[in-house]
């Protein structure tokens, strides 16, 4: 027998070509009782590896190959739990202060944390092997002695490889010599980079991607041959026939390694408690205070019962401190007036509501706590909170300061290749040009590996070319890389905190690309699998826009509206929404939503909650949108497949709209416990294997039968649940979003100028580009002022009833330059280009962009200024006291910009068009083609054909609507919805670009006019 102790999985990020699960499968095939993974400076893969190994009944050995600061690598295996903690720290220290993706461990730090670790000398990259390769036996001896002294003679092994690479035997002989001389044991190993020899090509490709080099030029960067695979014990025995003890050593080491992945929930920091309180009593007290503050409640007893039920589960699940921690963060935000709001499944919790974490009363909204936390489902608690995007960093830094870098880090994400990116990367490796790859990817109608292999569009475009060996290689290897991790990213907001032991002793951390941030080496899924709880500190630009709007209102009126006191029943607000005036309104501004509104006509916050949940792939795929609308309008009767479904689906007129309803249906129709219902929902939502879903189906049908539900009905209901799947909102989530939607709608209704200013300040956000927001503001007779460096503020603002575009709209104008501009113009107005350059220290590109954006129009013609800017730079650089006498000469005559050119350049350099609508650039073409303006549409009767010219600002193809495309066509007068059916879309897909003339049929829903496209022509 033999145990492979040095294996790189694909979590070595481009240094391994197989998944941990594939290693485990192969080890099982070989009958290995244990297996190690030793990814490069990382524990990225230990969770999936441990899970797979434990499931397969083999012992997982946890380790890593560490890069040393002075050069060379060392393989470290965790022998004991102390060793695991030390190794986790070692990885963290090796990564600290290094560039992303690199590591370098100083020797001193290794000496401090060597206990409980077994070290192997590593292969070709090991210090000893390197010295032997250079024929420096003395140096090799010194190094080996140093390691033996550090780890102990029993814990340091000389690692032998036989990859049949050049000079391998020389190194082997050297190691044998050292073994005898220093009385150190040899261990046979593999330095494995892929499970089977067939994956050697994939490894070569990954290497090329890592070094960004085409394979033709990779040369010695590639591994020398295909011998770096996981060998069977029999093969290893033959290979090391002359050294049986080296094979035996692998077994001895495996026997000794007992460390395992620490399981959560982690220990959360204890909050500062008032005297006489412990966490549970403190949480209970805070909740009862909240209950009193938020009351009175008509049925207080129910609230109290639910509260006690929730606290019981919270205590059982050992997450009391977690709740107090989140409460602390939210308190901080409230104190600092940072707009924030909990969302997601946490809104199912009454405790979260009472602690001001979420705005939703779960009892009033009929929400189920088990959707968030249940005794059956051992998922960790996970609370998502949205913060105003411009101030989220304050919250994150508060947490880092409060807990220290050893105890807190953000969750990482593993950015996988994805079929398209893989195609691009592999294409580059094979020498395809960028334009070729653009062409191929342009044709790609899929995001999956399977789709890539069988893409009809690729076949149609490239024909027999696809069958050539080169193309086959391109497609096969790209598909193979689809799910492989490529690089480490940072989770949008997930923070993990642990105190005893500190986080870095359970999960290594490493610096993030952003300064002052660190990330864990486990991603969200791995944290969840190991039972670690996190808090999601998310960023929402809408909240920032709302906050900015509130600031402007306060500045103007001296009073800040309190949005939390709104009653959500303002008729003017709902009337505005029903008129379809929703641009900028959170979550109900999309084209698909705009299309829905004339049929839906929301009148209260519950309606908005349902409206948000309705336009999701789940309800669309399950064909629930139209039945729901028909029933809502009274055109169809509300019916239930079985009377038992009525309590669950009454609120949504017999159709399933919310995730919670899956739980309720399963409970009422099939007797599922709430926790079981959640497991069913997750299984349906995450496309689990058919066998797993089948098991649920059987249980569901059996449960339904026990309740005397006829089998065909039960089957039909289960199919509906399956179609509904996971692409849907929980009611709690939709309700939380509905609150923000209402806030934004209310601001748009009563303070449109401030509202649009807030949105313009926080671009990019929402569905619409800045120029559409500007046009929308102008449609409401709000004046917008173009850039002018004399008056434009840093950010867009609203003063004296005019929106003034901010300097941050000038393309590539740095924050520092804007700051200098603001300061210097206060000192003294800019008198010339030279003066501007000298004092604001603008770079050439910044000055050019400011000129082209129109910011210096007051100084003269744009092209003249551009021309003069060169001389201005020379002048600005000369010492102040030297006079400059310009030689007399003829002034260059440049073509002055026409109004249209100015419009075009302003748009190109700011992204907005203030003077005129951007469609003015194509007005001549529209007129020549007989295209009409959107203004004329109201005069046309339903069913009449019209040609309209404008700018396509939005193209939306919601998943599940079978290829129907929603466009927003905009001109100076308005923005009109255009529905493009599949056949038309297929025919004119290439024509759907910026400016277009659309030949369409006029349709109406109430007072709203929309178009059904028949023909599209790009202009």
């Amino acid at each position: 027998m033999y145990i492979a102790l040095h294996n790189h999985t694909y979590y070595s990020l481009l240094e391994g070509a197989s998944s941990p699960e594939a290693y485990v499968e192969q080890a099982v095939r070989f009958g290995m009782p244990a297996l190690a993974i030793t990814d490069r400076d990382a524990f990225y893969g230990v969770v999936p590896f441990s899970q797979a190994a434990t499931k397969a009944g083999i012992k997982p050995i946890l380790g890593a190959e560490i890069t040393l600061a002075k050069g060379g690598n060392l393989v470290l295996l965790a022998e004991t739990q102390l060793g695991y903690r030390n190794l986790s720290r070692i990885i963290t220290m090796a990564r600290a202060g290094q560039e992303k993706g690199t590591a370098a461990l100083p020797w001193q730090q290794l000496t401090d944390y060597s206990a409980g670790i077994i070290a192997l000398s590593s292969g070709r990259q090991g210090e000893i092997a390197r010295a032997l390769f250079h024929r420096d036996i003395d140096k090799a001896t010194q190094i080996a002695e140093r390691y033996a002294a550090l780890f102990g003679r029993n814990n340091f092994f000389l690692e032998l490889h036989r990859h049949h690479d050049y000079d391998n035997e020389h190194v082997t002989e050297g190691l044998k010599y050292l073994s005898e001389k220093l009385n150190l044991r040899l261990v046979a190993s593999g330095d494995v980079h892929y499970v089977s020899q067939e994956q050697a090509n994939l490894q070569d490709i990954l290497t090329c991607i890592r070094y960004r080099t085409p394979i033709e030029k990779a040369g010695a960067l590639l591994l020398p041959n295909d011998e770096f695979y996981l060998r069977s014990p029999a093969e290893m025995r033959d290979l090391f026939e002359d050294m049986p003890d080296a094979i035996q050593a692998s077994l001895d080491i495996a026997e000794r390694c007992q460390a395992h992945v620490p399981q959560g929930p982690q220990t959360f920091p204890k909050p500062p408690l008032p005297p006489g309180y412990h966490p549970e009593s403190y949480l209970r007290t805070l909740c009862y205070i909240g209950l009193k503050r938020k009351g009175p409640f008509p049925n207080l007893r129910r609230y109290e019962e639910l509260l006690e039920h929730e606290i019981k589960i919270i205590v059982e699940r050992n997450v009391t401190n977690y709740f107090l921690l989140v409460w602390d963060v939210v308190q901080f935000a409230h104190e600092k007036k940072i707009l924030c709001q909990g969302r997601g499944s946490a809104a199912n919790s009454l405790v979260a509501y009472l602690l001001d974490i979420t705005p939703i009363d779960p009892l009033a909204c009929g929400l189920v706590f088990e959707r968030f936390l249940s005794p059956e489902r051992q998922n960790p608690a996970d609370i998502d909170i949205d913060f105003a995007s411009n101030r989220r960093e304050e919250v994150i830094q508060y947490m880092y300061q409060r807990f220290g870098p050893d105890q807190i880090a953000m969750a990482c994400t593993f950015n996988t290749f994805g079929a398209r990116q893989a195609l691009r990367d592999v294409g580059k490796v094979f020498g395809f040009s960028k334009s070729q790859l653009d062409l191929i990817i342009d044709q790609l109608d899929t995001h999956s590996a399977e789709g890539l292999r069988h893409s009809p569009k690729l076949r149609e475009k490239f024909g027999d070319l696809l069958d050539s060996e080169t193309w086959q290689q391109l497609i096969e290897y790209s598909a193979a890389l689809d799910t492989y991790p490529k690089f480490l990213g940072i989770h949008v907001g997930g923070m993990v905190i642990a105190t005893r032991p500190p986080l870095v002793e359970s999960i290594p951390t490493e610096p993030a690309s952003m300064p002052d941030r660190s990330v864990t080496q486990w991603a969200k899924e791995q944290l969840e699998a190991a039972g670690y709880a996190k808090i999601d500190i998310l960023s929402l630009r809408t909240l920032a826009a709302i906050e900015d709007a509130l600031d402007l209102i306060e500045k103007k009126l001296g009073k800040r509206p309190n949005l939390r006191r709104l009653k959500y029943n303002d008729r003017r607000v709902y009337n505005m929404i029903c008129r379809g005036e929703t641009i900028g309104v959170f979550n109900i501004e999309s084209r698909a939503q705009a299309n829905l509104i004339p049929d839906y006509l929301p009148r209260n916050i519950a309606d908005i909650t349902r409206q948000i949940a309705l336009i999701r792939p789940g309800p669309i795929q399950a064909n629930m949108v139209h039945p729901y609308l028909a029933r809502r309008k009274g055109l169809a009767k509300v019916k239930y497949l079985h009377p038992l479904l009525e309590p669950a689906l009454k609120e949504t007129l017999g159709v399933i709209l919310f995730q919670e309803q899956v739980l309720m249906v399963a409970r009422d129709l099939a007797g599922f416990m709430p926790g079981e219902g959640e497991l069913l929902r997750r299984a349906l939502g995450s496309k689990r294997p058919d066998a797993e879903i089948e098991a649920f189906r059987e249980k569901f049908l059996a449960g339904a039968q026990a309740k005397n539900v006829p089998l065909p009905i039960a089957q039909k209901v289960f199919e509906q649940l399956k179609a509904f799947g996971g692409y849907s909102f929980s009611k709690a989530h939709a309700a939380a979003f509905a609150v923000i939607a209402y806030w934004s709608a209310w601001l748009r209704c009563y303070y449109p100028a401030e509202f649009f200013t807030g949105i313009l300040r926080n671009q990019p956000m929402g569905f619409y580009p800045a120029h559409t927001i500007v046009s929308e503001a102008k449609r409401f007779n709000i004046q917008v002022q173009n850039l002018d460096i004399r008056t434009s503020p840093r950010q867009t603002t609203f003063v004296d009833n005019v929106i003034i575009l901010g300097l941050d709209y000038v393309k590539d104008l740095s924050t520092e330059a804007i700051e200098r501009l603001e300061i210097e113009r206060i000192r003294q107005p800019f008198t010339s280009l030279e003066d501007l350059i000298r004092r604001a220290k603008l770079s050439r590109r910044e000055l050019e962009n400011t000129i082209m954006a129109g910011g210096l129009d007051y100084m003269g013609e744009r092209r003249d200024l551009l021309w003069e800017s060169i001389e201005a730079f020379y002048l600005a650089r000369r010492p102040h006291h030297l006079p400059f006498k310009k030689a007399p000469g003829q002034k260059v005559k440049l073509k002055p910009m026409t109004a249209m050119e100015k419009l075009r350049t302003s748009f190109a350099y700011t992204g907005v068009a203030v003077e005129q609508h951007i469609t003015a650039l194509r007005q001549d073409v529209f007129s020549a083609n007989g295209a009409r303006s959107t203004k004329d549409l109201s005069k046309l009767s339903t069913g009449s054909m019209v040609k309209v010219g404008g700018l396509i600002t939005i193209k939306q193809m919601p998943r599940g609507v079978k290829g129907v495309c929603f466009l927003a066509l905009e001109d100076a007068h308005s923005l009109v919805n255009v529905t493009v059916l599949v056949d038309i879309y297929d025919k004119y897909e290439e024509e759907i670009r910026a400016f277009a003339i659309i030949n369409a049929e006029v349709r109406r829903k109430g007072t709203t006019v929309y178009l059904k496209a028949k023909e599209i022509k790009a202009v």
């Binding site: 010695a220 070729q436 080169t470 551009l866």
Partner: protein, 486 residues
């Protein structure tokens, strides 16, 4: 004061020279066929037929890219010697008309015809005469541009090609007018920054660019752009740079008596090599290759060649090289004489030695160095024009020689045989496996290498390929125990 007569230049262009030549040599019409000629040393595109180019194939593209872009392309290996000889023959025709001929590229020449036109009724007659003459010689119809300077003449020749004419004359003082409608990209290697800024001023043609005053151009775009501005104005003061091959060193030795002892042959070759070394050093030149023509008593001439890994003038390197020639010599008859030729390179080629720049031993610096090299090359091209920098042709390693190998029961070599000489293997010093080129369709290379010591103490590297054939690898550096696998 006598009027100053303007100078006149003639650009003779045989577009797609290699491809068209191949079509003649293969007697096939390439007008409807995508034909691509690949350079012999790196299999990149030397030239492609118009149809292949229409499908996106560009000069310098790799073979793989050509196969991706144009799977039906007929790929032909370049026959450098053939092209060169035809190129030379056309050049010889031009040389009859002008003593200085500038070679811009293969099939592209410029000559000065200021005085020549007097011998013909008109410049056009001269041009047409040249066209006819070349047409007769190798059936390749050229196009000709005649103008007052090289740049305008070159543009005129291309214009003639585009307009399907044989000759395009640009009358004196009409250069600026002729160039005016051409786009800015017609300039040789216009800097991207220049194009960007001119676009901001809505300047798109050479004519509009030419409108600027010289002083303004210098102030706005820097002095580097002055040459381009001059060209746009129809002013090209660049002189004709006649092309001359660096002279080869050739020496012939005839023996008084036929010799059978190869050591005598070697001694004589080494003497000549030493003479070459002195000569090369005096000229500050290096040689990249040596060739020998060995004449034997049976009247047969044996051609041998060897390349120097790094161009050199060092006597030791040259002696080693002639040593390799003698080792490769497979003759049984007595030698009656030889001619040794060295192909010198200009001194600057030594600086462009690429292997040291990308040495795999410096992997950590690899990417950085490559980027630096790219930037440097780009700067050189910007400064001196694209044609001033050409890719140095790294010499391919010598091909392995098929040999016979006797193997032991364990499958390792025990005896090597080639050139009718047998070497018994004393011991296997090293063995390793190599696998590469799997990405080239049908070209996977999988080898088992052995570094062996023969009975006489020489060390050889041999390998067995995936089909079981044995070869002697000749990349090993003589005299050193250092070998870097590819």
């Amino acid at each position: 004061m006598p009027a100053v007569r303007s100078r006149r230049f003639l650009n003779l262009l045989v577009e797609h020279f290699p491809t068209r030549l191949e079509s003649i040599l293969h007697a096939r019409d390439i007008s409807n066929e995508p034909v691509v000629v690949l350079r012999s040393w790196d299999e990149c595109v030397l030239d492609a037929s118009p149809l292949a180019m229409a499908q996106g194939v560009k000069r310098g593209d790799s073979r793989r890219r050509v196969q991706q872009l144009c799977p039906k392309a007929v790929l032909l290996p370049a026959r450098d010697a053939v092209y060169q000889s035809h190129h030379d023959s056309l050049q010889a025709i031009l040389s009859q008309f002008a003593k200085a001929v500038e070679v811009t590229a293969l099939g592209d020449w410029i000559i000065e015809v200021s005085d020549l036109a007097r011998a013909y009724p008109s410049e056009k007659d001269l041009a047409l005469f040249l066209v006819a003459k070349i047409d007769q010689t190798i059936l390749l119809t050229p196009t000709i541009g005649v103008a007052a300077n090289k740049f305008t003449a070159a543009k005129a020749a291309r214009q003639a090609l585009e307009q399907n004419r044989r000759v395009m004359m640009v009358p004196p003082d009409k250069e600026r007018h002729f160039l005016a409608p051409l786009p800015l990209t017609a300039l040789p290697n216009p800097p991207a920054e220049l194009l960007r800024r001119l676009a901001m001023f809505d300047i798109t043609t050479l004519g509009e660019f030419a409108e600027f005053r010289h002083v303004d151009v210098i102030e706005q775009f820097g002095s580097d752009v002055v040459v381009l501005h001059d060209l746009a104005r129809g002013i090209d003061l660049r002189p004709l740079v006649p092309f001359t091959l660096p002279p080869s060193l050739v020496k012939t030795v005839d023996f008084d008596h036929p010799i059978k002892d190869s050591s005598i042959l070697l001694n004589n070759l080494e003497l000549v090599a030493a003479e070459f070394s002195v000569e090369l050093t005096a000229r500050d030149h290096y040689t990249a290759a040596l060739s020998a023509l060995i004449r034997t008593a049976d009247g047969v001439e044996h051609r041998l060649g060897t390349s120097l890994k790094s161009p050199s003038a060092d006597v030791k390197d040259l002696k080693l090289a002639v040593g390799r020639l003698v080792i490769d010599l497979k003759v049984k008859a007595a030698v009656v004489g030889f001619t040794l030729t060295a192909f010198p390179l200009r001194d600057w080629t030594q600086v462009a030695e690429q292997p040291s720049l990308f040495d795999a031993r410096f992997l950590d610096k690899f990417l950085e160095r490559r980027e630096q090299a790219k930037k440097a090359a780009h700067k050189v091209q910007l400064k001196f024009g694209e044609t001033m920098l050409r890719l140095a042709a790294t010499l391919d390693p010598p091909l392995p020689i098929p040999i016979e190998v006797e193997i032991s029961e364990a499958g390792v070599p025990i005896r090597l045989t080639w050139n009718d000489l047998s070497r018994k293997v004393n011991c296997i010093e090293k063995k390793w496996r190599d696998r590469h080129s799997w990405w080239r369709p049908g070209q996977l290379i999988r080898r088992r290498y052995y570094q062996v010591e023969a009975r006489e103490g020489e060390v050889y590297v041999v390998f067995q390929d995936q089909e079981g054939h044995w070869y002697l690898d000749r990349r090993r550096v003589f005299g050193e125990h250092v070998y870097r696998p590819s």
